[in-house]
Symmetry: C2
Subunit: 157 residues, 2 copies
DNA sequence: GTCGCATAAAGAAAAATATTCCGCAAGCAT
DNA sequence: ATGCTTGCGGAATATTTTTCTTTATGCGAC
């Protein structure tokens, strides 16, 4: 892993449609070695997948809600069940187990507040939760899938 | 926008490397009309971009922190300045203006707690903030860039 | 009904791109 | 120096995308 790999990752994080030949030019390689590096990055699991990102507005996903959850049962069993339930909801796009006084945090995408309420009702019908607190995002100021690469560990500079 | 478009979007959200011919087969079209639909979805801005998603572990981004921010100055000026500052930090991958008693919410990705502290110091050096509260994610249970398409409005079913 | 028009599909051809194959050069241990 | 490993590059090949042209279908005006 060196500077060139990092440059490749940076560019692919921005736009994965770029042709290997163009990418190669930008990082100062010819297409073959560049192509091989990309393959390796995929094999090694550094590149997890390539996806299309949609415009939330255009697919009726205007509202983002952060849902803070506290639970009574801190057992593995409960978490397993909870994870499965959450997995079934495409509205939940992020799901973290947290430190601090909130046990779990969800990010939920829905068209409007009514749809959020419907989601909420469905959720609490499926599994018991001690405490749920919802906070609505008014504006999405920044959202990126690009991870910071400055911290990456390089073998060869 | 019809069921076929939705199927195309669903598949491209999962994996954008799929060949148009294969995609076409899956949605029951031949390559040309399928290709044209994809073009249109891109023109219309439904498909925003195509990117490579990296494995956070492999690029030294093991720690996710949610940062709740409250401010004194609720002016446009301050927000503009704040947005610019945040924009400079690649560690901040999400940034929302919120309802409720928290004004802004950040999601920050860093290698470890020390790096988070360094980020925090840099941030508060650049702009004055009334109150900052950091909560660490212990585990990322679900993370997807796939938006729910069930809510999408279809002209033709 | 049928004519003309608009929309969407399909097949084949052309262009662009990805992938493979082979040889060359540099670094390094023996 | 010799042999080995690693990484690069150019050319050939295979795939895929993109364009071009044709055909089918639905629909309103007459």
């Amino acid at each position: 892993m060196d500077k060139i790999d990092r440059r490749i990752l940076r560019l692919l994080q921005e736009d994965s449609t770029i042709a290997v030949a163009d990418l190669a030019k930008k990082v100062g390689l010819s297409t073959t070695p560049c192509w091989r590096r990309i393959q390796k990055l995929e094999e090694d699991g550094v590149i997890r997948k390539r996806v299309a990102l949609l415009n939330p507005e255009k697919v009726n996903g205007r509202v983002t809600v952060f849902v803070s959850i506290r639970t009574n049962s801190h057992s593995m069993e409960w978490l397993k069940r909870f994870s499965e339930v959450i997995g079934e909801f495409p509205e939940v796009v992020e799901f973290y187990r947290m430190s601090g006084d909130i046990d779990y945090l969800l990010r939920v995408v829905v068209p409007d507040i009514a749809a959020y309420d419907a989601f909420y009702q469905k959720l609490i019908a499926k599994i018991e939760i001690r405490d749920v607190s919802s906070t609505f995002a008014m504006e999405r100021i920044k959202y990126t899938t690009e991870l910071p690469l400055d911290y990456m560990v390089l073998d060869k500079p």
